[in-house]
Amino acid sequence: MAQITLIEAVTQALAYEMAHDDSVVVLGEDVGVNGGVFRATQGLQQKFGELRVLDTPLDETTIAGVTVGLAAQGMKPVAEAQFEGFIYPMMEQIACHAARMRNRTRGRITVPAVFRAPWGGGIHAPEHHSEANEHLFANIPGLRVVLPSSPARAYGLLLAAIRDPDPVVFFEPKRIYRQYKEEVPDDGEALPLDVCFVLRDGGDVTLVTWGAQVKECLEAADALAEEGIGAEVIDVATLTPLDFDTIAESVHKTGRCVIVHEAPKTAGFGAEIAARVAEECLYDLLAPVERVTGYDVHTPLYRLEMKQMPSTARIVEAAKRTLAAS
């Protein structure tokens, strides 16, 4: 069993499901011979042919709409937006059709599609190649938003997304595409799409996060542990529909909640979690909720890029503030 990276886990999941289900097809820009600009679809066209791994013309609206059409005909398309910054032209098809077709037709037509996109900053890429815009899809009923943060979760959640009978927007944190390897058995085992992952237990403060920031949160937890503070780390991973119960349970235990995400603060998905805490866990709270997020500015070009992101130090400080507060 090989050790693989997150991006290799994506490829492995795609290859597994394509081999086991003829209706799975992959489409997007440069997904064919080139295997995707990040190599997520590496080798798939060679293995499954040009019909099932299709290089589309350069139009994200086309990709999204054709994906809806494929899915409506019983295929299970996995479409790629080359970067999350190019997903905007897909929004009408995702919001108005993919997420709605089941409801519109009372279940007659469904859209079991996956819309994949590399997500987030931190790789010194040009403009529009480094955004965190997952919240754009979080208020759309009928849609799942998934954002794995490890090779194993990428594999299991992508399998689940493809098999799910409803549309899934699947963001992949590109900063950690190749950050580390782990063993991911290619056993076709999917992970559930409706639970958060508790990555580390702790009794003093709950760190809630997703995507590349999971790493900083785990580091922050280590740093806090050295000072005797127990931080529980929750990887939300399946943002919507949200499994708030896991978060509530943790906050009930710790009384303190720090939410960490890369996207700008205002109306980011962290707001939803903070809101749920304020609604459902108020009597548990020993300190104000903290959000450690990107600032409300556009991701700067790469010189300043990392300064816009939540750092481990900022997370540690916020956690300590919650402890000092009560």
Binding site: G203, D204, E227, I229, K253, T254, G255, L282, Y283, D284, L285, L286, K320, L323, A324, S326
Partner: protein
């Protein structure tokens, strides 16, 4: 250096943050207060009653000067 006393998990008294803040202001250890609200929740009156009772009984409810 960080030196706050960590309130232990499960110690959270069943009171809204505002009431806990109110109790802190009066120097009341809210864990000593009994709640009369729905489901045993501590309300403002419980805190003031606790203070009155403590003063009347000559006890010292105040743990220290409010910060």
């Amino acid at each position: 250096p960080f030196d706050a006393k960590i309130v232990m998990p499960g110690d959270a008294p069943y009171a809204s943050p505002a009431i806990r803040a109110f109790a802190r202001e009066l120097g009341v250890d809210i864990r000593q207060v009994k709640g009369s609200g729905r489901g045993g929740r501590i309300v403002r009156e419980d805190v003031t009653a606790y203070v009155k009772h403590a003063l009347a009984s000559g006890a010292r409810p105040v743990q220290g000067a409010p910060a």
